[in-house]
């Protein structure tokens, strides 16, 4: 079962950019042709942009591959080439099996037609046969939750309902290879969870999925492998967790290394935070579940009396993971480092935010939500999916006695 289903060899896509107008008009073409003999020949530089360059890879049957990268890196272009929507300029790709592309939610929807009619139309556009749509119709409508309105014109649906119906149709697409482009970023949280669940279900049936997303937690959850696309080329490939970790590290190292820069100078305030962690070597990345020292730098413009220092740690979903407070601090004027030493901070990988406060006998002195975030890049020791294993990453030992 390890047959190659997608093979790309030196794929390249070039676009013309610059002077060329987006839409031409016949009248412009005519005037330009007539004026040609009279115009001085300007050196027309046609600027080209290689949206994809020399992309080579192999994807085996049943793999779930994530495509990550900055905006404009070429991820959507790659999906478009693989979907045959746009032709490559160079190289080639070979695809074994039926391809379903989910590049947008609600492809083909027409506001004048009813929900029912739109299901048939959208299904047909996405590649389903009439018989197939009829067979899955009830299932799709049930998934979307809009049974009551299925026979009213789509323009009377709210945007949320339209999206749900659109995704319900798309989710029941049954191709061997599924190409998904950030469509899971739409809708409310509950809907996103539902869509993610459906994607997981699809991946479990042995289909090959190529998945583009900016939400790293989704990539971690769904994908085994990940390609990091940068500037139209494949920068790195590997296990999803590793690639995502590397990507996040790269993203955050560009940001300020924990300086509280834009706050009022000269007053008592927190100025920076770091993790004193040998493993990752980067001040805001936590790569181990062992001993860790977190230090918050504070600058006092006046002596601190009866000081209270509060610390809170929030996870990516804004839940409070840990909090503590230190009382009766007495500190002189100057810069100090408030260090918290934890024997262990066993967290699952993802982004976390520290928040620190400082009070004295008169009231609040400073409240800082630390930037940058803390990125935890540990390996999950239990189930790879957060929904089954929770927030903590504890390598518990098991025995029967």
């Amino acid at each position: 079962m390890s047959e190659t289903v997608i093979r790309a060899e030196g794929l390249g896509k070039r676009f013309r950019v610059g002077e060329r107008e987006r839409y031409l008009a016949l009248r412009d073409l005519i005037t330009r042709t007539l004026a040609k003999p009279f115009r001085r020949e300007r050196k027309r530089q046609t600027d080209y942009l290689w949206a994809l360059r020399d992309v080579t890879f192999e994807i085996k049957q049943g793999e779930v591959v994530g495509l990550i990268g900055r905006n404009g890196a070429g991820k959507s272009t790659l999906l478009k080439v693989l979907s045959r929507i746009t032709r490559p300029t160079a190289g080639y790709a070979e695809i074994h099996g039926r391809v379903g592309s989910l590049l947008e939610v609600g492809t083909g929807f027409h506001p004048e037609l009813t929900g029912r009619e739109n299901v048939y139309l959208s299904g047909a556009i996405l590649g389903m046969r009439h018989a197939e749509i009829s067979r899955k119709f009830d299932e799709m409508v049930a998934f979307s939750g809009v049974e009551r309105f299925i026979d009213t014109p789509l323009k009377h649906f709210s945007t949320g309902m339209q999206m749900r119906l659109a995704f319900a149709v798309a989710a029941h697409l049954d191709p061997e290879i599924l190409l998904v482009d950030e469509v899971l970023a739409v809708g409310d949280l509950e809907f996103q969870k539902k869509c993610l669940g459906k994607m997981e279900e699809v991946s479990r049936t042995g289909r090959t999925i190529v998945f583009v997303s900016h939400q790293m937690n989704q990539i971690r959850r769904l994908c085994e492998r990940a390609f990091w696309i940068e500037g139209g080329q494949i920068y790195r490939t590997g296990l999803a967790n590793q690639i995502v970790g590397a990507y996040e590290a790269d993203m955050s190292s560009g940001a300020s290394s924990g300086d509280n820069g834009n706050r009022a100078a000269g007053k008592t305030r927190f100025v920076r935070w770091t993790i004193e962690d040998e493993e990752s070597g980067v001040p805001n990345i936590l790569a181990s579940t062992g001993r860790v020292r977190v230090a918050f730098g504070v600058q006092l413009s006046a002596p601190l009396r009866m000081g209270v220092h509060g610390v809170s740690l929030y996870n990516g979903d804004r839940n409070l993971i840990w909090g503590t407070a230190v009382y009766n601090l007495e500190l002189p004027v100057g810069t100090h480092s408030l260090v918290h030493e934890l024997p262990s901070l066993p967290l699952r990988p993802g982004p976390y935010t520290w928040r620190v406060t400082l009070w004295d006998e008169h009231g609040l002195l400073d409240d800082w939500q630390c930037v940058p975030e803390m990125l935890v890049t540990t390996e999950p020791v239990t189930h790879p999916r957060d929904e089954w294993a929770g927030v903590l990453n504890i390598p518990a030992a098991f025995s029967v006695e």
Binding site: I85, P88, E94, I95, G97, G108, A124, I125, R129, H130
Partner: protein, 287 residues
Amino acid sequence: MSATNPAAEIPVLARMAPLRIAPPSRWWAIPFRELWDFRELLYFFVWRDIKVRYKQTAIGAAWAVLQPFLTMLVFSLFFGKLAHIPSQGLPYPIFYYSALLPWMYFATALQSATSAIVDNQRVITKVYFPRLTLPLSTVLAGLVDFGISFLMFAAMMVYYRMPVRATMLWLPAFLLLAVLTALGVGLWLSALNAIYRDVKYVMPFLVQFWMFASPVAYPSSLVPAKWQWLYGLNPMAGVIEGFRWSLAGSGHAPGRLVLVSAGMVLLTLLSGLAYFQKMETTVSDVV
């Protein structure tokens, strides 16, 4: 890997020849096989065009009859009664309606074909299907209106007690010619409009001009014999004469005229297909 029902199909398909995605090489090749694979989608597009046209309209299907009918009335009055344009022995309404029947089909098919690609740009940039399906669906969707206005014509034939002729058996052939003409020109226009957006605005003028260059308001016998062949370069000339002859028996079997027109139709169709295919290779980048 699970051996569930859908997965069992996978080995079968994997044995088929892989799909190869490469820079466009033989762009002129008409993808017959693919068009056949996507025939259901073609049906859905036609169905969509028809449904959308008649939803939320007060007159709805009646428009398909009203347009040719009212035009016929105006022509009968001004060109016929007042200007005394010869009608080859036919009652004026029959004379004009038999020509308006294919003409209206052609005009509306052209209008919708021109914007076929541009109107569907969202779908084109998000899903793959052979783009030929779009102008093809507009040309086919127009046949529904044609059918409705034909019923009106049948009623008129009964009213004027026109005899049923053997020549009517030729009607499907001329209808096919009309469809191919609409398709050929429609392909050119939809491709051009996708690149040069003002084609859509030139269209109404083009259609009007074309109508006067076709034997709609007057018989082609008005054209001197030695120029008939030139006149036949207008493919609609052959179509309309053919309709008039097969339905109402006016004039003689239009031989040379139709032959020239048919030749032009073939030329337009082939060149239209070629140009359209060429445009298709870059359509999603420029639309």
